[in-house]
Amino acid sequence: MPFTATFIVLSALGIANAAYLAFKHREGKPLVCPLDHDCNAVVESRWNKILGIRNEYLGVLFYAGLFIAALVTIFVPETSSTINRSFIYATGTGALYSAFLTLIQMIAIKDYCFYCLLSALTALLLFINSFFLL
């Protein structure tokens, strides 16, 4: 149970982070980066979409999906073994995609977005956490 709680909290952090980026984009407001880097150069770069969907919206969907699925394992315990196994694949994919985007920041954009790095860290922690749910 403690690792279900950490999974829920990390998913909620991921939702808040991605939703903040999506909100700022919708409002057309520039991001204020706590790292003294230009977050806007990253989130408005040509790498900000996959299959026509902006990364922050994908992030909201990804973390919200994990959050809801974790709640389902609590309220419908018979689904927990299947869902917990699928968390490894889902969070592994998320962590890999986040690692790819982090490499893009390092190599192609040569600038960093604090919120994107936070999302990458969250995805990695969720991936590690998912092994403790088995």
Partner: protein
């Protein structure tokens, strides 16, 4: 006075760290109330039934965690977090081997108050 740019990252880390702690405690107490009820002070449990009291405190922790993450009026959120940590530490002082960590969280919450003592509400 410290500039806003230089406090942005430390403030974010402090607020997020304390918020995650509060959100974890609240979530874990919803999932496994029996492990957490014991930390509610006995005198409080004699006035209010333990389960609703734990639910109310968990909801308070979630609200405070979200407030800290939002960054709105951070010094007040930090002050409330410091008061909460102080309350938890004092009421569980006989479990010092467990609550000694809350002294660190109390100091971190006070650091948020100090960082935001003279500036506009949003970090």
């Amino acid at each position: 006075m410290i500039g806003m740019d230089s406090i942005r990252l430390p403030s974010f880390l402090l607020r997020t760290g304390i918020a995650l702690t509060l959100l974890y405690a609240a979530t874990a107490s919803f999932l496994d109330p029996n492990s957490w009820i014991g930390y509610l002070p006995a005198w409080m449990r004699s006035i209010i039934p333990a389960e609703p009291l734990l639910i109310a405190f968990s909801l308070f922790e979630i609200a405070l965690g979200l407030w800290l993450i939002s960054g709105k009026h951070a010094r007040y959120a930090g002050a409330l977090a410091a008061l909460t940590m102080f309350g938890i530490t004092i009421t569980n002082i006989t479990n010092l081997d467990i609550v000694f960590r809350d002294i660190g969280l109390l100091a971190a919450a006070l650091a948020i108050v100090a960082l935001h003592r003279k500036e506009s509400p949003n970090p």
